[in-house]
């Protein structure tokens, strides 16, 4: 089954509306929560008057930080910063409910619990919150100004972290360089915008002392462990279930204040308590990603070979930095791309601002690094008079250079080492598919008809499949079905199918007979979660390993039952059978029964059942890679950009299910298109957000995203038994870079000096850029 386009096993449930998402779950007697949130980005909480709300009919409780008592303390830093020498990191994490001060718009101040959500919202409007505005900093580029208002005054500045990583000697590289290009790049903020918002339901069994929490989390096991620690319960008495989840994309891996407040309310009130985030809340209360400004410089020799890169950037972490340094470290590392970079000097400042919290969103900072290096290569290519394919080709790492150790630390604290890859064929294939060689003629022909066509092409790598580990349990049931349990959450990645394919191959069963359970801590309680494009790689490898062990048990039992040597057996059609004599066989279900005897003696050391639990922890992540290429058409009047073709040549090692991989890439590219052109959070200088709705924050639709042509190259990873590399985020990573290059290419004749130095671009900004470009036709008559 490995490598086949098996239709997904979870689809019938989803297609008929029977799959249970968070808001579909409602234990009898459930109470509903509405949060009261700050309207201001920075304020002192002078007073909270809950009397009127508490008296409102149907209200069970109104609680604030003071009611939480001991629980109202800053949460943990979820990901410890890598131990980079000399690094500065100031941890500041939020309280479950704000006390005394709010530091971003949307920070939760009180929770109202009532018979229905309607009544809870009625009463939330009756909570009197008296906020005294404080000076606030919304513009991250000004956060380190001497007169900037302080988000956390005790720190004395808004500096959250400062990290520098280097390899080689950039100053020497720069002195020896024939060409040096430098630019300032800005990559702005966006939201993940999963179509399902977050939600939590908690039920407390006071008699049994056990807590059950349904949660839209990508990381149910860490949430369970966190809640157990907070409430002083044994981990085994807390069950966290991640049901079907309507998209994750990163922010659902966070551990939020609502995940503490809602279970606490259920324990305090002795009734099930439910909170479903609404879309408006999601724009503030769910974490976001992206704002960075880079001052970057690329040094090359006369032939366009990279001698070194210097980068200084500022990363906006918002009001808190609970997720450590993952995003800026990803940026720092991914900037190196698929290239040979002898000297690198990269330093960043992470700054606090009075804005919503920044944590990974699909791509998780990698796209920023790719944007910087790819744009610098484009500008260098112009100076040296090379085409965009040739300058990349000259710098790609070659197959004999793997494993390639860059000598700096990655987000998982391991050395940034590429395990395997073959980049040149991917570049050539992308160039061939997009029609690079003949494109300039095509562009000129179109220009003659008044049409502005442009081509863009960019390379990227993605560090995927990082540790620490995941586990899985595989069990052959007496009926012959196979159960698989793993701890990762699933948000649409097709784990139910991909893991079934892995097991089906080992055990010789129909994948439809393999039932996969993910994200329920009562089923499996070791692991970390779904992030960093690691589900298939890490949990998949654990599933595979458990299946291999079960296979061994099946063969041993079957050999005894059939009185043959295990090596004479094969597993197929749900049975163990003798090679060459398929009628001498025994069903797996029957073997499972025999492996669990009710009476009689067993050999010492044997375990009952056809079951195994395995764990997989890679020493380092596997590095996926690819090349994207696009052809766009720019409307000469409106500056709207239409994507005519989009090609992805991608290498994620061994492909388990090509249909699912294509889907992951398509979705990533669509998100990337949004990031590159449509989506922009409009934050004012104080940190106020002015476009918190889908009317004003534009997600790409079916008429904005083209068909996406994909091709796969497979260089298996040596780091896991499957040879797999992650694919979840790849599609999103290089889109802004290809997009910018393509738009510049389309405008080359009218505005040869026009440079796109940021994302998202947007038709408005592009119109302005064209107007400012002196030789541009649009500028002449505007």
């Amino acid at each position: 089954m490995l490598g086949t386009r098996l239709p997904r096993l979870e689809d019938p449930r989803l297609l008929t509306g029977r799959a249970r998402f968070i808001d579909d779950i409602e234990p009898p007697g459930t109470l509903h929560v509405a949060f009261v949130r700050s309207d201001l980005p920075h304020a002192r909480i002078a007073d909270i008057d809950v009397a009127k709300a508490t008296r409102h009919p149907g209200v069970a409780a109104v609680v604030t930080a003071d009611d939480l008592g001991e629980l109202c303390r800053p949460g943990p830093v979820l990901v410890p910063p890598p131990p980079v020498e000399g690094a500065v990191f100031h941890a500041r994490t939020p309280l479950p409910l704000a006390r005394a001060v709010v530091r971003y718009q949307g920070e939760a101040i009180a929770a109202v619990v009532a018979d229905s959500r309607y009544v809870a919202e009625d009463a939330a409007a009756l909570v009197g919150v008296d906020l005294t505005p404080l000076d606030s900093v919304g513009d991250y580029e000004r956060a380190l100004d001497p007169d900037a208002p302080l988000v956390h005054p005790d720190l004395g500045s808004n500096l959250a972290a400062r990290v520098r990583q280097t390899k080689g000697d950039y100053e020497v590289a720069r002195r020896e360089a024939a060409v040096v290009v430098s630019r300032t790049f800005r990559y702005d903020r966006g939201v993940a915008a999963a179509i399902e918002n977050r939600g939590i339901i908690a039920e407390w069994d006071g008699g049994g002392g056990s807590l059950t929490v349904w949660d839209t989390t990508q990381a149910p096991i860490p949430v369970r462990n966190g809640l157990a620690a907070l409430f002083g319960l044994p981990e085994s008495r807390v069950r966290v279930i991640a049901p079907f989840i309507g998209g994750g994309f990163g922010p659902k891996v966070m551990f939020y204040g609502e995940e503490i407040v809602v279970p606490w309310l259920a324990m305090r009130l002795g009734r099930p308590v439910k909170w479903i985030e609404d879309r408006y809340e999601n724009f503030f209360a769910t974490t976001q990603e992206r704002a960075q400004t880079h001052e970057a410089e690329l040094a090359l020799d006369g032939e366009g070979r990279i001698l070194g890169v210097r980068d200084r950037f500022v990363h906006d972490t918002g009001a808190y930095d609970s997720y450590g340094l993952t995003v800026p470290i990803n940026t720092q590392c991914t900037l190196l791309g698929p290239y040979r970079v002898p000297a690198y000097d990269s330093a960043f400042d992470v700054v606090f601002t009075n804005t919503p919290i920044v944590t990974p969103v699909r791509g998780a900072g990698r796209q920023h690094g790719v944007f910087v290096i790819e744009r610098l290569l484009d500008f260098a290519a112009r100076e040296i008079d090379l085409n965009v394919v040739e300058i990349r080709s000259r710098n790609l790492l070659e197959p004999h250079e793997f494993p390639h150790d860059h000598g700096i630390l990655y987000q998982d604290s391991a050395s940034l080492t590429y395990d395997s890859g073959d980049y040149q064929p991917a570049l050539e294939e992308a160039a061939r598919r997009i029609g690079f060689d003949g494109f300039d003629d095509e562009r000129r022909r179109a220009a003659g008809e008044g049409r502005l066509l442009g081509l863009g092409l960019a390379c990227y790598v993605e560090g995927t499949g990082i540790g620490p580990y995941e586990g899985a349990r595989v069990t052959v049931e007496p009926g012959g079905t196979v159960s698989v349990a793993t701890g990762v959450g699933t948000q649409g990645q097709g784990h139910f199918t991909a893991f079934a394919q892995l097991v089906a191959d080992e055990l010789g069963v129909d994948p439809a007979r393999v039932r996969v359970v993910t994200g329920d801590t009562a089923e499996f309680h070791w692991g970390t979660g779904t992030f960093a494009s690691r589900g298939a790689v890490v949990a998949g490898s654990a599933v595979h390993s458990a299946a291999v062990t079960v296979r061994g048990k099946i063969l041993a039992h079957a050999a005894r039952a059939l009185e043959v040597d295990p090596t004479d057996l094969e597993l197929a059609d749900g049975a163990a059978r003798v090679r060459g004599a398929p009628d001498v066989s025994i069903d797996l279900g029957e073997l499972a029964l025999r492996a669990n005897p009710l009476r009689g003696a067993v050999e010492p050391g044997t375990e009952p059942g056809l079951e195994a639990t395995s764990y997989f922890g890679p020493a380092a992540g596997s590095t996926a890679s690819g090349v994207h290429a696009v052809i766009v058409e720019v409307d000469p009047d409106t500056s709207l950009v239409e994507i005519l073709r989009y090609v992805v040549v991608h290498d994620c090692g061994t492909v388990i299910n090509p249909m699912i991989v294509d889907g992951q890439i398509h979705g990533g590219v669509a998100l990337g298109i949004g990031n590159a052109f449509f989506e922009e959070l409009v934050l004012d200088e104080y940190g106020g957000l002015s476009n918190a709705s889908f009317m004003d924050y534009l997600l790409p639709t079916a008429t904005d995203v083209p068909d996406i042509e994909t091709a796969h190259i497979e260089t298996p990873s040596p780091l896991n038994p499957l040879g797999a590399k992650g694919v979840g985020e790849a599609g999103a990573i290089p889109v802004a870079a290809v997009f910018a290059q393509a738009v510049e290419s389309a405008l080359r004749d009218g505005a040869p000096g026009l440079e796109i130095l940021g994302a998202p671009l947007g038709p408005g900004k592009l119109f302005e850029l064209r107007r400012m470009a002196p030789t541009d036709a649009a500028g002449a008559h505007s």
């Binding site: 297609l15 509306g17 229905s116 309607y118 999963a194 948000q491 996406i708």
Partner: protein
């Protein structure tokens, strides 16, 4: 009384997935909440509550409509179809192999869904669209889908799914 605020209920009578239903509802109750929490039809999903994402799309008298932009009382006297009504006949007992409408089958075959949250709304729009436009071009399909937001698929496979559904329906295939 689904919303439970103590306000007097207003009677609402609808034909819901072929069954006559009469309930007393609070006047302000959203149709989406009535269907999901009042009637237990949780296949209709709510993504934005302001009529943009399309996840809550249902058919009202055969026409696609946003359940989050209607009050339950506005549905009085109307015929409503949700995703649960797309599949004819009662659902079989097993979780994994219910009867599928040709559009649902086409979506499965083409991997037209990932997390599946936006999918029920898209299925309802597709049902109405293909009834009017049985042989659509890809551009027409994209136009028809443009009132739906999907964050997972990039739409490519959804367009494939709608095209495949048109083929299955043209070939006269019923529910399996």
């Amino acid at each position: 009384m689904t919303a439970g605020s103590g306000v007097d209920g207003v009677p609402v009578r609808v034909r819901l997935n072929g069954e006559e239903v009469t309930r007393s509802v609070e006047p302000r109750l959203l149709l989406s909440d009535f269907l999901r929490h009042g009637m237990g039809l949780t296949g209709t999903h709510v993504g934005c509550e302001h009529g943009v994402c399309g996840a809550c799309t249902i058919l009202v008298d055969g026409e696609p409509a946003r359940a989050c932009l209607m009050l339950a009382v506005q549905a009085d006297g109307r015929e409503i179809t949700t995703v649960e009504g797309l599949t004819p006949g009662p659902a079989p007992p097993g979780p994994d192999d219910p009867a599928l409408h040709p559009i649902q089958r086409a979506f499965r075959d083409t991997h037209a869904l990932q997390c599946g949250f936006c999918t029920p709304g898209i299925l309802m729009t597709t049902a109405a669209f293909l009834a009017e436009t049985p042989r659509p071009s890809r551009a027409e399909i994209r136009e028809a889908l443009s009132g739906h937001l999907c964050r997972c698929t990039g739409y490519h496979h959804i367009v494939d799914g709608v095209a495949r559904a048109a083929e299955l329906l043209a070939a006269g295939e019923g529910a399996s």
